[in-house]
């Protein structure tokens, strides 16, 4: 087995373990490359099917192309596609772009809070109706007790300490100092009522591994990751007011891989284009403890 096969097998094992153990399970799909690889791995794990709903937190500041891409794949792969958002904050324009709050508060409003309440089911969830192609209010209001996310350990400091199965308390909080043991391939799959688990099948993957796998499997990705001729591409996708493209000539997956292996990005952190990280002391842990992905 080569290293991609090993990574794939471990992730598939974790996905199957999650599917087996959790009745109310979802996959968080940010439309980015990592969670798209995660979605692909779910198709691997379940032999072409995706028996787990995909949840997207729509901040309304996602680059429009991302939403088109999401809905196209949802239709093509017959996904159980659900999105949620912080309607109130958007209506009151409590966003960074509207100048009313700083970046971190904006993240908290549009991502952390929206995620928390969408997962809990106490804010509306919108589910794609495959017959009409439209989103409708989801009748399922059950809280998700298993939440699969495409977090990677190499992204930044706090993520390097994550477990594959990581408990969150009633307030969605992560107790970094008291995490459950994980031995061999046995994970924490029992949890007290009211708590839930975050499940991280991609923990051992690096940014390079993600691209190598996208190449090997020929996984469709958003074109924003590639230079369209202006010498710029996105290395990490977020909301447009807070994510900057990087200078890069890579037009294809192959070129990105070369760039990551030996080129100018081999020593620069992936999230260097994300402004909110800088405001959080570089660690992101303030956001993450509250439930940020």
């Amino acid at each position: 087995m080569d290293h991609l096969e090993k990574l794939e097998s471990k992730s598939v094992y974790i996905l199957r373990e999650a599917y087996r153990e959790f009745k109310n399970l979802c996959i968080l799909w940010s439309i980015g490359k990592d969670s798209t690889v995660l979605l692909w791995l779910a198709r691997k794990a379940f032999f072409g099917h995706v028996p787990i709903p995909l949840v997207h937190i729509d901040t309304q500041y996602k680059i429009p192309e991302m939403i088109d891409y999401r809905d196209n794949l949802a239709r093509e792969w017959n996904l159980n596609m659900v999105y949620g958002q912080n309607k109130e904050a958007l209506e009151q324009k409590l966003t960074f772009h509207d100048g009313k709050v700083d970046r971190l508060t904006c993240c908290k409003n549009l991502k952390t809070l929206a995620l928390k309440h969408t997962l809990a089911g106490d804010w509306p969830r919108y589910r794609m109706n495959h017959t009409t192609g439209q989103y409708e209010i989801d009748t399922n209001k059950e809280p998700y007790t298993g939440v699969i996310a495409g977090v990677r350990a190499d992204e930044e400091g706090s993520r390097s300490k994550e477990r594959y199965f990581s408990p969150r308390d009633k307030e969605n909080e992560w107790d970094v100092a008291d995490q459950p043991p994980e031995l061999w391939n046995q994970f924490k799959t029992n949890f007290a009522p009211g708590t839930h688990l975050r499940i991280h099948p991609l923990l051992d993957w690096t940014e390079l591994n993600i691209w190598e796998y996208i190449e090997r499997e020929n996984i469709p990705t958003v074109s924003l990751y590639y230079n369209q001729g202006d010498g710029k591409r996105y290395r990490s996708l977020g909301c447009w007011p807070c994510t900057k493209p990087v200078e890069s000539n890579s037009r294809t997956v192959k070129e990105i891989i070369v760039e990551l292996r030996s080129g100018k990005f081999s020593n620069i952190a992936e999230r260097s284009g994300r402004e909110q990280d800088k405001e959080d002391g570089g660690g992101l842990e303030t956001l993450r403890k509250d439930g940020y992905m």
Binding site: Y13, V176, P181, E212, A269
Partner: protein
């Protein structure tokens, strides 16, 4: 070079608190140029802002909590590469409070670096970690004698640590690859050989890391695949029934005969399934895959798929194991815990503590009848139902398990041998029950004379209609003036069973209570009827034992069989309720349950 073929290896760094693990890693990353650009400067700037001297350890302590306390709380992973291969370095905490985190980190590793402070010498966790390294089955160990700068790079200090710790490891049966004198802070013997310790002729830490080998003998071992799940996704008219799992050891090909343990069910491989991959005829260890089989087997998750032509694992309920305990509450004798071994989950009890070992000095603590937090014990465990396993020496992944207490993984262990026994917790308990049973003056004969029939426990299983058949049978018998009584598990749920859940772990208790009810009802002379939606042969074994001295009759609608302990007979196969009831009554007549024939 093709990066896809680059080898990757997980290495854990362990040792007592403050002996310099994080500094070793930080220094290795810095000296091999493995840090992301700006990371070193960022951490240096943070130190300056907080007016603290920079330390290499801070590179890893990315979390504020840890910087405040200056100790590693949890395992952190960092990535670095040499010309030879890519590494994931796992920094395991040395503080006893965080032993569970250390174990989590170490369990992922293929090799270990154990750091001992030359100045402070061997400490409690130097030994405990050494023990756990051997127990977790990490095959390669290098001991780093750190802080040599604090002892003036004195050879005699190094020699003394080497000889003391070497003999400790020898007692564990562990032979380290080597001992290296280092100063992580000054970078001596880390990435480069030290000029300050010319008396040391061995390689640097980095050279040793590249010298670790990949031990992969799993493909030579007998085939084992724990069944993680059985899928039948019907979307797009997919009619495959796929037995999914990760192959732990060995190889298998389409057309080969397989046996599932502990059930003993057999079939033949029809296909190897996968998504977006070329069709395969053969597959081996490491792959998370799936198979379709020639036969429609009903299999529980956790059964182990094996090749019929190879050595098979043990199937049993009792085994000897070494356990280390991390739970807040001690592990107690005879308390029910959940066992997770491969893909199986079973309830388990600690039936005997052979020796209780203090892992920090390997002295055995005799007579202690519980396993306390951070203790290690050699003990005997018993599961409720048989599980398939190998000993740790034969097949590592089939010989290790965790124990769940409440919601948490509280212990881990390795199986050292199988224990053959004809006694079990349940037979002992029943023996005791029968000794203490306080029978009245009425005899069994008196009751059958009163009711016109003997007593019997009748269990209906299978189909979607088991309860309907059971209720119809009750009606039929009552109409014929027989003393029959039906109760189903649903009626017990919020009453007799209100203190237990329907979790798999409590299923055993649900079955036990039905069995105890059967003992009482049959003793009262009744025809006691119940319906179970799922039950396996172990459940029937338990029910049969619990009902004794009375007998039970099992009607399986799925298999069209009616049977007791000695005989079985085919039912007509009809789905007609009347016909089914008729044949059950007929069976009761044949068994001479009815003393008068008025039915």
């Amino acid at each position: 070079m093709n990066q896809n073929t680059r080898e990757q290896m997980n290495i854990v760094v362990v040792g007592h608190v403050d002996h310099g693990k994080s500094t070793v890693i930080g220094r290795l990353l810095a000296d091999t140029d493995s840090l992301p650009k700006g990371k070193l400067d960022q951490v240096k700037a943070t130190c300056e802002r907080n007016a603290r001297p920079f330390e290499y350890a801070f590179l890893l302590d990315a979390l504020k909590d840890e910087q405040a306390q200056g100790i590693t709380i949890d395992t952190a992973r960092c990535f670095f590469k040499t010309k030879k291969r890519d590494y994931i370095i796992i920094d395991a905490p040395g503080h006893i409070e965080f032993l569970k985190n250390m174990v989590s980190g170490a369990a992922r590793a293929e090799a270990a670096l154990l750091v001992i402070d030359a100045h402070e010498g061997i400490q409690e966790n130097s030994k405990r970690h050494g023990y756990l390294i051997s127990m977790l089955g990490i095959p390669q160990l290098v001991v780093l004698v750190n802080k040599m700068d604090l002892v003036n790079y004195d050879k005699s200090v190094f020699d003394s640590v080497t000889s003391q710790y070497g003999s400790f490891l020898k007692n564990l049966g562990v032979t380290p690859i080597s001992f290296i004198p280092i100063s992580a802070r000054n970078g001596e013997n880390l990435a480069f050989r030290s000029e300050k310790m010319n008396w040391y002729s061995g390689g640097s830490v980095l050279e040793h890391i590249d010298g670790f080998t990949k031990r992969d003998e799993d493909h030579l071992k007998p085939f084992r695949m724990p069944v993680q799940d059985v899928y039948k996704f019907t979307a797009h008219n997919d009619d495959r029934r796929i037995f999914a799992g990760t192959i732990e050891t060995g190889q298998i090909s389409v057309g080969e005969k397989v046996i599932f343990l502990p059930s003993g069910k057999k079939s033949t491989i029809t296909s190897i399934e996968g998504f977006n991959q070329k069709p395969k005829q053969t597959i081996g260890n490491g792959y998370a895959t799936g198979f379709t089989l020639k036969d429609e087997l009903y299999l529980k998750r956790g059964e182990v798929m094996c090749r019929e032509d190879e050595r098979l694992p043990y199937s049993g309920t009792r085994f000897k194991a070494n356990i280390f305990w991390m739970g807040r509450n001690p592990m107690l004798l005879n308390k029910k815990y959940k066992l997770k071994i491969t893909a199986a989950r079973e309830s388990v009890r600690l039936v005997e503590i052979v020796t209780n070992i203090d892992a920090s000095d390997l002295s055995s603590i005799n007579g202690k009848q519980q396993i306390d937090r951070h203790d290690v014990a050699e003990c005997i465990l018993e599961t409720t139902k048989p599980i398939a396993f190998d000993t740790i020496d034969d097949i590592q992944s089939l010989g290790r398990f965790v124990i769940v207490d409440g919601y948490d993984i509280a212990g881990g262990g390795i199986i050292t041998s199988v224990v053959e026994t004809d006694t079990s917790i349940i037979t002992d308990a029943i023996k005791q029950r029968e000794i203490n049973w306080d029978t009245g003056f009425v005899t069994e004969k008196d009751r059958s004379a009163l009711f016109g029939h003997k007593s019997k426990f009748i269990i209906i299983t299978g189909g979607v209609n088991a309860d309907i058949v059971a209720k119809a049978l009750e009606s039929k018998l009552i109409k014929s003036k027989k003393a029959a009584y039906y109760i189903g598990p649903a009626s017990l749920k919020d009453g007799l069973d209100s203190d237990i859940s329907d979790d798999y772990i409590d299923r055993e208790e649900i079955i036990r209570r039905i069995g105890e009810l059967a003992r009482i009802m049959t003793d009262a002379g009744l025809l006691f009827i119940t319906a179970l939606s799922i039950a396996d042969e172990y459940d029937f074994d338990v029910l049969s034992k619990l009902t004794r001295p009375y007998e039970f009759l099992h009607v399986s609608l799925d298999n069209n069989i009616i049977k007791d302990n000695n005989h079985k007979r085919l039912l007509s196969g009809s789905h007609d309720l009347e016909v089914i009831i008729e044949s059950i009554v007929e069976e009761l007549q044949q068994k001479e349950v009815f003393t008068d024939f008025s039915i």
